[in-house]
Symmetry: C2
């Protein structure tokens, strides 16, 4: 019995030795399952992520625009904010966003924690202030107890709020896509069309920007290299942060993970389909006009990047009490 | 061993015999856990309940206003609809709504299935049409397969859509509140203050309307019996359905189940707190001015009606494809 176990272990190691060495050479790498999560902090963050009381109206939560039932986006060209404000830019997916080198399309937040505070105070998004958000939470007894439990002291502040939301967001990785299973050695995980799409994706140069575990998120690149990108969007990209003219129209390269779910595409959301997005990227970034068949094979490959979506119980939010400030949706 | 089991069974029966006979005499009865659910139909309904693609904007779902993280309501005086339309009436909780004699405050829908179609096509709510909603679903392959699996044929229509949503809503009962445990024989489940609040609730006459398993939902009653109710709301209640002048300002008696979670109160949402609601109800409906202590004891009793909230995994929605009509949030 014991010998048999040893033999199986050995055989298992032998089978996987080659692929495990192999996949590190691929430009797109396996998404690692998440580790080192502070569970209590993430649970608190999950509640805050779903809590519309962080907005002035009491109606908009993080999940309103980064909907975890829909690939971590709202699937709109640009988002809807307070009083139906039309957002200036496409909501990027929150899935795997911990893998980004910075947050927002222009990278103006260095990490998830810094990002989380942005929409709460943005007049066109949740239209609240950090002070009012904290004051609301301070007057919800269930949160008071949970913050104390998680942080060990009684103070609630925006730093702790964004810490918790960021910890929850760190859990939103999507391992185990068919592409990952192929990288991990399951050679039957991809069809021949998907594999040839991946080959074309690499040989065309797409992986110059879309690489690493997130197949993106690791650099800022100019939108419109070979040809300029025509858009009505006023978003200027990285130059809005650095002030450098050379950074105009440089945007954070979006992750291609779960790209099948996170339509529409580009910072202005103007590409409705993957076919359109692949065509535009080929022409504008690489000077390459894909045939219909080439385009289809790349799209087929891209759809293999859909991983296991985060699965969790819808959180129950602690109720407001008589002392909790009331939302003001119509003022 | 066998004898011991028999003895325990016998003793268990004896302990519970009295309360089980007893609770049927109470005006508020135990909420029965839900039975006879078509699970596949309810699972489909859960997805539809969370799917904002049933709205013109692609941003408003059933859950937007009947938020299952927040007691099945939006906790706003009146709801926010398409393009931030201000709703005319307070969103009633979806929790235990299967126990209502009819749906909406004025009872204009006879059941959950009929209700579910209303907001989809209401220009001030989801602002879609049934035809467009069905056409959207017909172009989402994941739904096409799921409808076929559940209904056994390939047609999708609004009848099936509302059937599924209603089946999901039937699962949203909240048994096991402290009050139910008391009804079921756990005499330690309520404090003496809560019990005296319940006694006062009964002897004052509140249970004339707030009775049955839902502590409400079983009749239409005039708002403002002893004194007229002062409100800016234009809602006329049952008369809007029956056309009878005698039915003016008659509203469906709201359930008191989970009332701690479903603030603010009344059809216009003008009572922000339970204290205020109890005070107004006492004066206007019963001609009774409760002392602060009486009010507090009734409020304490009402908070024992919070049951187990529905716990389920956030549904993943099947993605749109190139052929799926796109939402139009800003047109």
């Amino acid at each position: 019995m014991k010998m048999k176990t040893c033999f199986i272990t050995f055989a298992f190691g032998a089978i996987f030795a080659l692929p495990l060495t192999g996949f590190t050479a691929e430009p797109i790498q396996v998404i690692e399952p998440v580790k080192q999560i502070n569970l209590a902090l993430a649970e608190l963050g999950k509640k805050l992520y779903f809590d519309p009381r962080l907005s002035q109206s009491g109606w908009i939560s993080c999940n309103s625009c980064h909907n975890l039932s829909m690939g971590g986006t709202d699937n709109l060209k640009t988002s809807i904010g307070h009083k139906w404000a039309q957002g200036p830019i496409n909501a990027p997916t929150v899935l795997n966003s911990s893998l980004n080198l910075a947050q927002f399309w222009d990278g103006r937040a260095k990490d998830l924690k810094e990002q989380a505070g942005g929409p709460i105070a943005n007049p066109g998004e949740m239209a609240f202030t950090h002070e009012l958000a904290v004051s609301t939470l301070e007057n919800i007894p269930g949160y008071v107890i949970e913050f104390r439990q998680v942080f060990g002291d009684k103070e609630i502040n925006i730093d702790k709020v964004t810490d918790a939301i960021a910890e929850f967001e760190k859990t939103l990785v999507t391992p185990n896509s068919r592409f990952d299973r192929w990288l991990l050695g399951d050679k039957n995980a991809l069809t021949s069309e998907e594999l040839s799409g991946y080959e074309l994706f690499k040989t065309s140069g797409c992986t110059a920007c879309h690489n690493g575990p997130a197949a993106g998120g690791a650099s800022f690149q100019k939108m419109g290299v070979v040809e300029p990108y025509q858009t009505k969007s006023g978003a200027e990209g990285l130059s809005a942060v650095t002030g450098k003219d050379a950074d105009r129209f440089k945007f954070k390269v979006p992750t291609l993970r779960n790209i099948e779910l996170s339509y529409p595409y580009f910072h202005d959301g103007e590409a409705a389909t993957l076919k359109e997005a692949v065509d535009i990227m080929g022409r504008l970034q690489l000077g390459k006009k894909y045939t219909d068949q080439e385009n289809a094979s790349i799209v087929a490959f891209l759809k293999t990047l859909t991983g296991d979506q985060p699965a969790f119980t819808l959180p129950m939010l602690p109720p407001s009490t008589d002392a909790t400030p009331r939302p003001k949706p119509f003022e």
